[in-house]
Symmetry: C2
Amino acid sequence: MLKSQKYAIGVDLGGTNIKVGIVSREGRIIKKASLPTLAEKGQDKVISQIKKGIKEILSHNKLKIQGIGIGSPGIVSTKKGTVENPPNLPGWEKVNLKKIIKKEFNIHVILENDANAAAIGEMIFGAAKKIDSFVMVTLGTGVGGGIIINRKLLRGEFGSAGEIGHISIDFNGPQCNCGAFGCVESYVGNNYLVKRVQNELKEHNSSKILDLINGDLNLLTPIIIQKAQFAGDEYAASVINNLGLYLGVGLASTANVLDIATFIIGGGVAGFGRPLFNSVNETIKSRVLKPLIKRIKVIPAKLKNEAGIKGASALVFYKS
Amino acid sequence: MLKSQKYAIGVDLGGTNIKVGIVSREGRIIKKASLPTLAEKGQDKVISQIKKGIKEILSHNKLKIQGIGIGSPGIVSTKKGTVENPPNLPGWEKVNLKKIIKKEFNIHVILENDANAAAIGEMIFGAAKKIDSFVMVTLGTGVGGGIIINRKLLRGEFGSAGEIGHISIDFNGPQCNCGAFGCVESYVGNNYLVKRVQNELKEHNSSKILDLINGDLNLLTPIIIQKAQFAGDEYAASVINNLGLYLGVGLASTANVLDIATFIIGGGVAGFGRPLFNSVNETIKSRVLKPLIKRIKVIPAKLKNEAGIKGASALVFYKS
């Protein structure tokens, strides 16, 4: 390990855990730490946990760190360095996280929405090393997006572009947490998905899903649905197929608006694997404008477990 | 008029007429011509009409022309210079219009989708002289869009970005000409609008619209609907209000994806005026992500009758 190599710190601010790591320019994690977010204790506590995590990995560090990248949920203004109303971090209004961390460590800090960080992570270290333009889709509690055009992140006016989870695919659809109706997230987000399946299981009482949870609907998770599909359950297969439809409709609109044909999908629900990817792919191809059809590609993200840390650190390398 | 001033030729390729003009850097039309497109006679005839129009305005010309800008319907690849499957121009597959015109006149040629040209026209000459980022929406037979971010046109991978008319606002909605379902265009495009109202009038047989067309549904046009609304017809008002809803849902999704808050609306149906603009504005504000709400602005296009020629000529000034 040469001292002349380049390193960055990546901070993955999640609702449950804060993950921090030192990452090399080649995408190797040199050192890492994980702390509870303690979101329920409020904003100040979370910020002190972030500082604690960074201090922890900086202790005994002799590598030259180029900067700290932070991937945060919520609406992030990269320009101003603020995070606004992050879901899962109750009590946060608008926090200038960039300023706070910069002041503490006196080092270059870049703050980005976590989905944008994931997009940059895939571009610098992952599936998009050789792809110039793509949309990153992160499937989890929320449905996030990051848009890369000609190897540049599309930020929009205030740095909050890419909210593909809040494309409405049915103006009369179910209400989303954001207040609008029929958002992609309100069909595909983990909690919405679980709730919908819990309801639908009343009409699908021979589904293997019910065996897997011993009839206790509170035990239902996306992984259970995946297991049931894998075991040949038709209802579970239809759930995954529909997820692909909902997501695909939103992505077809995205392709038409942006003239981008490559979609990289990551995050928990992406674990549904081939059945989900096939459905997304077929939906987009059947709904996108004709000249785009042949170019459509839907591929899985490459960065898996440490996508958060790596994506956040990639913000530093992307800038420099 | 100084000879040192800058001039460009703008070509507005429409389904019925081809309009050509010499336009000054200040947006003044110096000379213009209009020819029938003769679309029904096929591709070669249309191209010879374009050449004829340009020759006509170039005769006796002593001004220094910097280039020819062409605004064309259909999917345009600015990079390649091709037009693909333009609606209203039957029999066109893929034509390298840029090459053909450049060969004929030996001058710099820029080809753009007509909605992109309209966006650049508003930026250079119109309502967006001082607006850095906005989405141009053109309402007509089709619903087109042009996206400007930080005074640059967003082209996407192959130059066909901006197709906001093909955002699906209901994945189970009516089928659009493009093959997909529930596209904004399939609600808001002139022909779809007229057809829907023709059907709905069966249930609204006291509407003033029926008086205005003497009961002959074939006479129905958007202007008739506007007249009826102006005369206080409740059904006509609800039609315009719904148009604003459909369009607004698509634009709210667009705002979320692009982080752009200003929408400039032009084209025929924009003549519905304040009732339409109010409905669009209210819909977007009630459905967009929270941090965007305050910034949302929906404003009418400034270039009216000669928007096509001016927008096309602006392509040249935008480039130079």
